[in-house]
Symmetry: C3
Subunit: 338 residues, 3 copies
């Protein structure tokens, strides 16, 4: 995986020996081997450090190009033959320490008085309201409007004819044309991930991006987190209501509609033209097909095929759910059956 | 309907002929007829363009003064005799195109460096914190406090002794006296509406307002959307908790109480002194009477009469809901019944 | 109770006679007695005014040091012998009027042009982004980053190596070291409380604080309200996801994890290492033990012992809840049982 240097300053490569020294991990391999990047095991390329954790009972998805690992004892057997490995009780922690030593989010160094950085590119046909701040490396396209008290982070790319509502914040993100963010939307914050470390739980660092394609609309105070290593993506013309939560690594197709209070956990996929009612929740890694409808307040824990309509918690086909609701009402209220 | 020129710049009237040309709609009527306003069919006055869409199976509510329509084939029969009509596959889209050519939200042209516009009226007895921005045409009354990094949009009227918390945004809105907005509240954003257009789905434009009467309190990060053509209204002393969503065209009476995560869909009515528990959801167009109580987590899809107490999803009278919960527990756990 | 003068300006003591005159309450006691503070009845010290309201059917928790009361007729019998008392129809209102005359939140007087107050202490090793505003009396520690358009209120203490995300607001709060707030978090707003007054319902004023201990993380657009008289506290390494609501007087232990849309009502206690799934709701005053797990979408109305796993609404032990879900599905769908 390539960490986007527009958003993260590369601090240089580390050797496996250095990482062992920084973290106390035990190295099985050449300590001069160079770690030039970070990734999940599934997407690691040559030079990337990957990690394997958990109880070792399920086979992890590992890229054929992954050669550098940090793993716990339980996952030792999954490390490909010939690969170098650091072994530690908390491999995710070791990986995080290495990652934070290799990349630093640029916004943590954004300081000073310049409301609109001289190193930002704001098209002369864009309109910027009072109080908006635009960081170095950001690009604002023709015809776009940046509302008052907006925060546009370092390197953020905003296309043409976008509307960025008041008091929104946009970090680590690429926006297409005609994208609308309503007031208070939070684009590109770190996602929620808690990892075990020797001194207790820590936040999992995030090195991915948010990508909003053309004509995407994001409602007021809605949050869309950036990916851990990969990207969080909303496809063209997808429309999200107010006060929704879209976690790291989620991918929505085109023309998805999601009503208020929708909550989408990490790595969920939702296909084109699917419709999610108000207060729908979807558990992590679930895959939803195209043209699916989820009734309001559904709590979904399983994959759904194209064209299905589901409801309830745990969600099931809508006719089954309605049958259960009706049956319970009838059975529990015998007087009404006379 | 009159679009409030404090919030929307009138760009001038259009003829039916011009609208037909802009959108490809087929005109049945005099192409020199002037469209001087926009409205829903239910509230259209002379000169307003109204629209009829949907499958034509239910009779739309049409104002006796409506004389200019855009409709699809399915609704042709509902157009009053003698009225002029534009016919199109996507009438809501044609209406939106015309509306956007006739009115432009003033905030999209709010630019520049002046934190407090010289064209705003801030009472000398008001207090404004650092970082707050106040747009042209806004009025701030005596004794009101505007917190840091607040965004007050063009033409917004704020009464006396209001407290506008940090980082809030207020657009297209009229606030009475003693109104309190806690930090991050979003007042007057466009509501969530997706309309079909020839090139895919689009956002429905909004031309209404938000009206918050005296002594209304709005919690932190709560969103209250402005109306589509009419207004979203909260009556006197209504109190809304944090992280709630109130959609376009909703009308709350006096002294309503709504706890956190409440979600109220478009055009809902809630009567005086009703109490909505945490995480209550109400489907669009539902009418709730006065002195109604809705238990926490209720999902309401039907109208409720005055004085009722309901709970559950779908919501039903509270005793019926509790009977079902208890019956299910008893039946499914036979060992506990011994 | 001591109201923290860093956040609330003391306006001076009142006599019982003055309070009677301001509110119409009837005094039974010496009208020259001085009220030097305010508190709940449970925590009142000498000189503090406490209140007793409700229907008088349950025995209130009253501090042995409480000597000054405002009460309604129904609670007269609970006032300790020899204590002075104001008697009124709306004792909570009388108490609020007195409290607001004795203490004023400093942020309501924060005005002017100075983005970073000369009376704030910002460590030279801290980094402040453009648009951030820092009030008089605030302290920012070494190595901390204050994001763009952040609002730091009067007297707020922020430790070392904290990250305060874009567009957040922090009032009436003490933050330890290594605390992270993601964008749009709302720390220290007044909680939701509605009290009865002669002219209708009013907001209950809040005089407490928010305390976030070392390594706490708070997600984007999450709200943590300050206490009414006491504090709202999150223990070390507690991690809160986006769009959560934590009400006044809540106390979380160490290393608690709460996923998105969690809603915690007033005065709830949650023990160390407990895990709350997405969209969990907990009713006010509930006590949750250590190492408890609550499944996503649980609605909890009862206390839970250490180590339990519960789910459902109303929440119950997870096996019981799953049994009910499975039983209902089987009974209502007989064809699937063949």
């Amino acid at each position: 995986m390539t960490v986007d240097p527009r958003f993260y300053t590369p601090l240089g490569a580390l050797t496996l020996g250095q990482i062992a020294e920084m973290t106390g991990a035990v190295l099985d391999g050449d300590d001069t081997l160079s770690v030039t990047g970070i990734a999940s095991a599934a997407n690691a390329q040559v030079g990337d450090l990957a990690f394997l954790d958990g109880d070792g009972k399920s086979t992890p998805d590992i890229s054929a190009n992954a050669r550098l690992f940090v793993t716990n004892e339980a996952n030792l057997g999954f490390v490909p033959e010939g690969a170098a490995k650091l072994v530690a009780r908390f491999p995710r922690y070791v990986h995080a320490v290495a990652a934070l030593a290799m990349y630093r989010p640029r916004h943590l160094d954004w300081t000073g008085e310049a409301r609109i950085s001289p190193d930002a590119q704001v098209h002369e046909g864009a309109r910027v309201s009072p109080g908006a701040v635009i960081a170095p490396g950001a690009v604002i396209g023709e015809g776009s409007w940046i509302g008052p008290n907006v925060s546009i982070g370092p390197g953020v790319q905003i296309g043409r004819h976008c509307q960025i509502g008041a008091n929104t914040s946009v970090f680590c993100a690429l926006l297409g044309d005609h994208v609308t963010l309503l007031a208070g939307a939070r684009i590109g914050e770190a996602g929620f991930g808690v990892l075990a470390a020797p001194d207790g739980q820590r936040d999992a660092p995030h090195f991915g991006r948010v990508i909003l394609q053309d004509h995407v609309t994001v409602g007021a105070n809605t949050c869309i987190d950036r990916g851990v290593f990969e990207d969080t993506i909303l496809g063209e013309r997808t429309k999200i209501d107010n006060l929704c939560q879209i976690a790291h690594n989620v991918v929505f197709g085109r023309s998805v509609i999601m009503a208020a209070f929708g909550g989408i956990s990490g790595s969920v996929r939702v296909g084109n033209h699917s419709m999610l009612g108000g207060r729908v929740g979807i558990a992590d890694h679930v895959v939803v097909g195209e043209n699916v409808s989820l009734a309001a307040s559904s709590g979904l824990f399983r994959n759904i095929e194209d064209g299905e309509t589901w409801g309830g918690t745990p969600a099931k086909p809508i006719r089954q759910w309605m049958r259960e609701v009706a049956w319970l009402q009838k059975q529990a209220n015998p007087k009404k059956n006379g």
